[in-house]
C-alpha cells in the first residue's frame, strides 16, 4: 500500500515545487507592476527650475497606490549626479552601469533590516546633461502574505488529492482481491487431514477475475491426481509382483519340510525355490533401477560425452554367456570409430542391458539377436533386433507402462518393467525409444535415438574426445 502511494507522493511533491515557483513569479510580477506605476508617476513630474536645479512635484497618488493592508513601508528616492533631490538618502542603489535610460529595473535588497523590492529608472530631463535616478521601494510583507496563502491552498489541495488516491487504491485492491480470498477459503476447506480432495474447483462459482488462477490450479490438481494415482497403482502392482514369488517360496518350503530334501519332490522344490528367489532378486533390481530413473526427473542434467559404441559393446560382451545359455546367437554391428552421445554412461548401459535382456528372453530358440550402433545425422542410433514373436501394433504403446505384460501363453516369466525402465531412462537422457517390426520375418526392432554430444559442452568432453582420437 505504502509502495503504491510513494509515486503519487513524489508526483505531488514535484507539483508542489513547480507550483511554488509559479506562484512566486506571478506575485512578484503583479507587485512589480505597481512599483513601476509609482516610478513612472514620479518620473513624469521631474522638472528643472529657474536655478537649473532638478525638482519634483511629488504627487500623493504616486505613493498612495502602493498602500496595502499588510502595512508595507514605502521608500522613494530621487538623485541627480549622486546628490539627493528628495526622499531617503541611504536607499540602496541598483547597479547604475547596467541601467539604460527610460527602462525600469527591479532588484531585491535589505533596508533598515527588512527585505525590500526596489524599482529604479534613469530618466532624462530637458535641460540637464545626465539622467535623473528615480527609485521606489517597498517592504515585501504583502507579497509574502499572498504567496503563503496561495501556497497553503495548493498544499491543502494536494493533500486532499493524495488522500483520495490512497483511499481509491486501498478500496480498489481490497475489492480486486476479494475473489482470490474466496478462492483461498475454498482451497483451505479441502485440506482436511486424511481426506484431502483433489477434485477440480467448480469454475462456475469462481468470479471472472479469479478464473485464470483457478483454471491453472485445476490443471495442477489434475496432474497431481494422475501422478498420485500412478504411484498408488505402482505400489499395488509392485507388492502384487513380490507376493507371487513369495507365495511360491512358502509353498515349496512347506513341501521341503514335509518331504525332506532327499526325495524327488524335495529336489524339485529346491529348484523352484531357487527360481523364485532369482525372480524376486531381478524384480527388486528393476524396481531400484526404475526409482533411480524417476528421481532424476529432468533430462539433460549430469550429461557427459559417452561413446555409445564402446558402452554397447561392453554390455553385449557381458551378456554373451546368458545368450549362449539361452541358445541365442548374439551379434554386434558398430563402427570402428567412437560414436559420441550426450548421455550418462551408467544410464546408457542400463538402457542397452534392458533391451538386450528382453531380446534374449523373448527370442525364438536358436534365433539371433543383433545390436547395431550407428551415428545419425543428429545424435546416434542404437538398434536391438530379435527374432521373437514381436509386439502387435495395438500393444506397442502399452508395453511401456509399468507392469504391463502382453497376455500370451507359454511365454517367459517377466515383471513387465523392462521397457518401462528403458522409457524412464531415455526420458531422463532426452533420448527417444520406438518399437518397430523386424524387417523380413517376425521379431522386434527397438530403436533408441540418443542426443549427439555437443563439441565443447565441457572441458571433460574435450579431453575425452582427445583420448579417443589418439592413435593406439
Amino acid at each position: 500500500m505504502l509502495n503504491m502511494l510513494l509515486p503519487a507522493a513524489a508526483l505531488a511533491a514535484a507539483l508542489g515545487v513547480g507550483g511554488w515557483l509559479m506562484i512566486r513569479n506571478v506575485v512578484e510580477a503583479a507587485h512589480d507592476r505597481l512599483l513601476d506605476g509609482s516610478v513612472l508617476a514620479i518620473a513624469e513630474r521631474l522638472t528643472v527650475d529657474e536655478d537649473n536645479e532638478v525638482t519634483v512635484d511629488l504627487p500623493p497618488v504616486a505613493l498612495g497606490m502602493l498602500e496595502s493592508q499588510a502595512h508595507d513601508s514605502i521608500y522613494y528616492n530621487v538623485t541627480y549626479d549622486g546628490a539627493l533631490v528628495t526622499g531617503y538618502q541611504d536607499l540602496p542603489q541598483p547597479d547604475l552601469t547596467r541601467q539604460v535610460a527610460g527602462e525600469t529595473t527591479h532588484s531585491d535588497a535589505v533596508y533598515r533590516g527588512n527585505p525590500i523590492r526596489v524599482a529604479a529608472q534613469l530618466r532624462r530631463v530637458f535641460g540637464k546633461p545626465d539622467p535623473v535616478l528615480v527609485e521606489v521601494a517597498e517592504t515585501t510583507n504583502a507579497r509574502r502574505a499572498i504567496e503563503y496563502r496561495m501556497l497553503a491552498a495548493l498544499g491543502l489541495l494536494e493533500l486532499g488529492l493524495l488522500g483520495l488516491v490512497g483511499w481509491l487504491t486501498w478500496r480498489g485492491i481490497g475489492h480486486g482481491l476479494q475473489p482470490l480470498g474466496a478462492l483461498g477459503r475454498e482451497i483451505d476447506a479441502r485440506s482436511v487431514p486424511g481426506a484431502i480432495s483433489l477434485k477440480p474447483i467448480d469454475l462456475s462459482a469462481v468470479p471472472r477475475e479469479a478464473l485464470a488462477p483457478a483454471v491453472a490450479l485445476n490443471a495442477l490438481l489434475e496432474r497431481l491426481e494422475q501422478s498420485i494415482g500412478a504411484v498408488r497403482r505402482f505400489t499395488a502392482d509392485a507388492s502384487h509382483q513380490m507376493r507371487t514369488p513369495l507365495t511360491i517360496l512358502r509353498t515349496h518350503l512347506g513341501i521341503l519340510q514335509r518331504r525332506g530334501i532327499d526325495t524327488p519332490e524335495g529336489r524339485a522344490a529346491l529348484d523352484d525355490i531357487d527360481g523364485a528367489a532369482k525372480r524376486l532378486e531381478r524384480l527388486l533390481a528393476q524396481l531400484i533401477a526404475l526409482a533411480r530413473a524417476d528421481e532424476g526427473g529432468s533430462a539433460g542434467d549430469e550429461t557427459e560425452t559417452v561413446d555409445l559404441a564402446r558402452v554397447a559393446a561392453a554390455v553385449v560382451a557381458e551378456r554373451v554367456p546368458q545368450a549362449l545359455a539361452a541358445g541365442t546367437d548374439i551379434q554386434f554391428e558398430g563402427p570402428e570409430k567412437p560414436v559420441p552421445i550426450a548421455a550418462n554412461e551408467v544410464l546408457t548401459g542400463e538402457i542397452v542391458a534392458n533391451l538386450l535382456d528382453n531380446a534374449i528372453r523373448y527370442n525364438r530358440p536358436g534365433g539371433t539377436v543383433i545390436i547395431r550402433v550407428a551415428g545419425a545425422e543428429i545424435g546416434a542410433r542404437l538398434e536391438v533386433e530379435d527374432e521373437g514373436p514381436g509386439i502387435p501394433a495395438s500393444d506397442k504403446t502399452r508395453v511401456f507402462e509399468r507392469f504391463y505384460r502382453i497376455p500370451r501363453k507359454g511365454g517367459p516369466e517377466g515383471s513387465g518393467l523392462g521397457l518401462a525402465i528403458v522409457r524412464a531412462l531415455s526420458d531422463r537422457l532426452g533420448a527417444d525409444v520406438r518399437l518397430h517390426d523386424r524387417k523380413g520375418g517376425t521379431g522386434l526392432l527397438a530403436v533408441v535415438h540418443f542426443r549427439g554430444a555437443v563439441a565443447k559442452a565441457s572441458p571433460r568432453a574435450d579431453t575425452e574426445v582427445g583420448v579417443i582420437g589418439r592413435p593406439v
Binding site: A313, V316, A317, V320, L324, I330, Q331, F332, E333
Partner: protein, 54 residues
C-alpha cells in the same frame, strides 16, 4: 569373451603390420586342432571370440 582388438595386440605385438584376416586365419587353425578334443571357439560377431568347454 575376448575382444578381437586384444587378441590382435597380444598375438602380433605393436610393430608388425597386421593383415585384416590374419587373426581369422589363426582362429580357423586353432579351431581345427581343438575341436576333436572338445573345446569350441565361438565367434561373437562384432565383439570377439569365446572359448567354450563342454
Amino acid at each position: 569373451v575376448v575382444p578381437k582388438e586384444r587378441l590382435i595386440s597380444e598375438v602380433f605385438g605393436f610393430d608388425e603390420p597386421v593383415a585384416p584376416n590374419a587373426l581369422e586365419l589363426y582362429v580357423a587353425r586353432l579351431r581345427k586342432k581343438l575341436e576333436p578334443m572338445g573345446p569350441q571357439i565361438r565367434t561373437i560377431r562384432g565383439i570377439g571370440y569365446l572359448l567354450e568347454t563342454r
